[in-house]
């Protein structure tokens, strides 16, 4: 009987045990995790903050859903991994022996080094308890300052606003999310948030978080300005939780390095989800994703290989559909470039591939509320940004992920053309 141990109760870990059980009915499967809330929708935390779902809705599986997986659950923090002995120590919960192990330990917010970052009232949005803490603190707070970039920072801004707080948003640069959005897109979102009462502070850096009796009382900028607030929410990027792997001597870079079967430098240890850094065999390149679906997919692929079924992870075009400042936004493929001073690493709900800018022409169509930007390569579309009306979201996901040959319409795509209609007609003919 094969003994599988999966560390991490996020979507990568759960997808793995789901697949392991489907391949091997007699195996002993143990799920290990230190999150007291187990498996829940991490992206859903944003909707809990805005009040769109109650807390209990975040839990994904019912007891009935767990039953067929027939796995043991050990709640605890995996403290030491011994690849030679094939053993995993889980603090006081004891030691597990495995034949094959999956590390799906996820990522955590990069801690801030700003003086005062340890005060009560400085929050992040990594997990269930963070979201609960924000809701609880907001009951006795009037103002909040959000520091950071990417999707997570705007989720914090919108969540705190929905909780009834006056929200200040600090940005180091001139505009929001400059390495993925173009200037029009940044301005559109900033405008929407400003209309909702969010106060933007551009070119603003935090010098110190001010405290009183151990609690946040305000924030001082490097320009010397002081703003009173009771909450400081940080979203400056995430880092892989790979201490266990590092200490065990596994190969790591920004994440735990794996090949396309999700196998690490130790043949009996696999990694999946946010913590994994997959090296593509053909290009030798590797990117980090902090997205739900790639996490699920890498967990599934890892499990197949752990169970002896050879499968490789073929990275698909990174896509995320999110509501930013109330605007439905689809981000597909390569759309941006440059640096974002508000982030020290990849943000949650993001992909490093979005920040690539290959040899493309960027064209856009705008109306008051809708925006479309296409990254047009020689023969195919390489990326797209769809804001507002989402009619083109599906067709573009389809065209970009299938690398569809657009030679026949390439000459029609020029500035001023009805880009949306051309793409829609092309796609409609293709799928007919």
């Amino acid at each position: 009987m094969t003994r599988y141990v999966v560390v991490g109760t996020g979507v990568a870990g759960v997808a793995a045990i789901d697949t392991l059980r489907s391949r091997d009915r007699s195996a002993e499967i143990t799920l290990v995790g230190d999150d007291p809330h187990g498996f829940y929708s991490r992206p859903g935390l944003a909707y809990y903050l805005t009040g769109e779902i109650p807390e209990k809705q975040l839990t994904i599986f019912t007891k009935e859903d767990w039953k067929p997986l027939n796995s043991k659950y050990v709640r605890g923090n995996a403290t030491r991994l011994n690849p030679q002995k094939h053993q995993l120590e889980i603090g006081s919960a004891g030691t597990l022996t495995y034949d094959r192990l999956l590390l799906a330990t996820g990522s955590v917010a990069v801690p801030s080094s700003i003086p005062g970052a340890d005060l009560q009232g400085v929050v992040k949005l990594d997990d269930f308890d963070d979201a609960r803490r924000i809701v609880s603190l907001a009951r006795h707070a009037r103002s909040a300052v959000v520091v950071g970039g990417g999707i997570i920072a705007v989720e914090l801004v919108e969540g705190l606003k929905a909780l009834g707080l006056k929200v200040h948003y600090f940005l180091r640069g001139e505009r929001y999310w400059p390495n993925v959005l173009d200037e029009n897109e940044s301005r559109l979102l900033e405008h929407r948030l400003t209309e909702d009462g969010v106060i933007f502070h551009f070119q603003t850096e935090t010098a110190e978080i001010l405290g009183k009796n151990g609690k946040v009382a305000g924030i001082r900028t490097t320009k010397g300005e002081t703003i009173r607030c009771e909450i400081v929410a940080m979203g400056i990027g995430v880092k892989a939780r790979m201490e266990l792997a590092k200490a065990a001597g596994l190969a790591t870079e920004r994440g735990i390095l794996t090949n396309e079967t999700m196998q690490t430098s130790d043949p009996d240890i696999f990694a999946a989800g946010d913590v994994s850094q997959v090296r593509e065999a053909l290009s030798g390149q590797s990117f980090m994703d902090t997205l739900w679906h790639p996490a699920r997919e890498t967990g599934r692929i890892a499990a197949f290989n752990m169970a002896g079924v050879s499968k490789t992870y073929k990275r698909k075009v990174a896509i995320n559909v999110v509501r930013l400042a109330g605007v439905m936004t689809t981000i597909i493929g390569a759309v941006g470039s440059g640096i974002d001073d508000d982030l020290v690493s990849v943000a949650r709900g993001s992909s490093e591939t979005w920040q690539q800018l290959p040899n493309t022409i960027s064209m856009q169509s705008n109306s008051d509320v809708n925006h479309l930007r296409l990254m047009i390569g020689e023969q195919s579309l390489l990326g797209a940004m769809v804001m507002g009306d989402q009619k083109l979201s599906w067709p573009l996901q389809d065209l970009i992920s299938s690398n569809a040959d657009i030679t026949s319409i390439r000459h029609l795509l020029h500035p001023g053309a009805a880009l949306g209609q051309i793409v829609m007609d092309f796609w409609s003919n293709l799928v007919k």
Binding site: S41, G44, Y47, W292, H293
Partner: protein
């Protein structure tokens, strides 16, 4: 003209709802559960999305509440071939 157009849109909308069902796409779903929470008759739409299965529950009203509220654009209506009308 405007009224005719909106009537025709409305009837098209009704037709899609009567002859289609809701399809989830796993690559977009983040299992937030807004769909299940808002289903007026309590269908666990999220579970269908996890399994990658269409919402084939015979109780589904195809009211569109889940499609409209999904913040990730992960749900859409698709025509069911079973009731497809012959083209005139």
């Amino acid at each position: 003209m405007g009224i005719e157009l909106s009537l025709s849109n409305e009837s098209k909308h009704r037709e899609v709802m009567a002859t289609g069902h809701v399809i989830p796409v796993q690559s977009r779903c983040v299992q937030c559960g807004i769909c299940s929470f808002n289903c007026p008759i309590g269908i666990d739409v999220r579970r269908h999305a996890w399994m990658g299965e269409p919402i084939d529950d015979s109780h589904c009203l195809t009211c569109g509440e889940c499609v409209r509220r999904c913040p990730r654009g992960a749900l859409r209506f698709e025509r069911t071939e079973l009731f497809k009308r012959e083209e005139a």
